[in-house]
């Protein structure tokens, strides 16, 4: 399933202009609140404007707030971001609390995140610290000067010790111990 025929753009998790690395800049540039002064659907919006708007503007002086009273139209919030995105949101029949929450969402976004499908949920500038794998990473350097095919590199070296080999080692150990006994006797 490729993304070529879908009209939802895809992107990665990025911060515009390395936002947090230096200082943090609120990405919401301006917010336009369109509402009707008398229609019922704008009630929540009108309540927000009467009660919470001035506090919002005081606490976030970096966001320009525009009010557009429009008769016979449903209430709408349009948020414009520093990267040029425009988020249009219909808040018809939404309550005061809901609108407050949605405005908080718009303020803390960094653009229109709903229009971008995240390809991965992580991003890093340095995917590898020790260096990416190459065929040379764990290669035995003796292979460079070896005459291939050779039994040293071709034979299985993970087999358990055979009975013959065990006996031979026991014999060697015995030889050493008898030698030391002879020396002790000689002393």
């Amino acid at each position: 399933m490729s993304a070529k025929n879908l009209f939802l753009n895809s992107g990665f998790v990025r911060a515009p202009l390395q936002n947090g690395v230096g200082r943090y800049v609120c990405q919401l540039q301006r917010i336009v609140l369109k509402f009707c002064k008398s229609h019922g659907g704008s009630r929540g919006m009108r309540d927000f404007i009467e009660q919470d708007l001035v506090d919002f503007a005081k606490h976030h002086p970096g966001v320009v707030v525009y009010l557009k009273p429009r008769r016979h139209r449903s209430p709408v919030i349009v948020g414009e971001y520093l990267n040029g995105d425009r988020v249009w949101m219909n808040v018809h029949n939404k309550t005061h609390e809901e609108i407050t929450k949605w405005i908080e969402v718009l303020r803390t976004q960094q653009g229109d995140i709903a229009s971008v499908r995240l390809r991965k949920y992580q991003y890093t500038d340095h995917p590898s610290i020790q260096g990416p794998w190459t065929p040379f990473t764990f290669k035995d350097p003796e292979l460079n000067t070896a005459e291939l095919p050779s039994s040293k590199f071709g034979a299985n070296n993970r087999l358990p010790m055979s009975a013959t080999e065990q006996l031979r080692l026991m014999f060697e150990k015995q030889k050493i111990s008898t030698k030391t006994e002879d020396l002790k006797i000689a002393e």
Partner: protein, 322 residues
Amino acid sequence: MALIRRFMPLFSKVMRVYPITVQSQKIHRWVAPTLMELKRREDKLGGKKTYPRNTYLEWNLEAELFAFGQRLNEDFDPDLLLQAFTDRSYVIKEEIQQKKMGIDIKMNDNRELAKKGEEFMSHYIKTYLESVLPKFPPEGIKGVLKHLTSEAVLANISLHLGTKDIILASQYPVEESILANTFKAIVGVLLETSAEERTGRFVRDFVITQLQGQDINEFWQIDDPWSLLNTFVEKDGGKLEPRLIGEVGKNTLLACYQVGLYIDRKMISSGYGETVATAKEMAARAALKKIFGTEDHMKPIDFKLEGLPKTASQTRYQISAS
């Protein structure tokens, strides 16, 4: 038979198939064709028409300028800030119009502010880089400085700070050079109104952080890494020995060689390449990166240095330009 008929309702309940609901995006089937048709009509009329933001009904230049300053957490003098956003082309256009109307309102443009800002920025960035990359030679620092103060980078920064809508220029959409100039003018305004330290912090937070995630060595082209490395090694009194330490698929088109550089039988770096010569060159480059302290796994650049950095000390590798 009667048994089956008796227990039929139970069987049917057991055998009822519950359909598994599939989560699908709620995009109607007519949305895509509609958008395609709208785009086709738009293109027929000559492409999408965008109007400058200051022609909209909801626009308050004073409020926008105030918010611009507050957003960046800086205190700007409002008149100077407006002067910073006024471009020469706009002033010319306005003067022509005013001559026709017979009025004479003087408007200042941002050329002097831009010059002051540019001077301060270059000096600050240079000394900051020198203190943060102590082993990097002056040519490299010049390369990085050239990249950071280039038009493309400054225009990108300016765009993402929201100057595109506030700039007063003759043409829309605004060109890159005007955006870059405006950014320099803003630095100039900050220099006039606040202390140098504050301005330095501003430049550090917006310009120097553009180095995050970038490979510094890309901004400085070394033409002959082998001879350059030799000058360093001979100064310390050693001898470079390149050796072929790995090869894969010698006769094929996808051949890959690994060359290691040794001083006194100890490996200092290794490089890969399609041919032995390329691999040797890349090994020399890797060794140079190690000397300058700018490898892939170097310690990240410190973007939190405060105050005005002191000028470079004497212990810097001087590479003669001649």
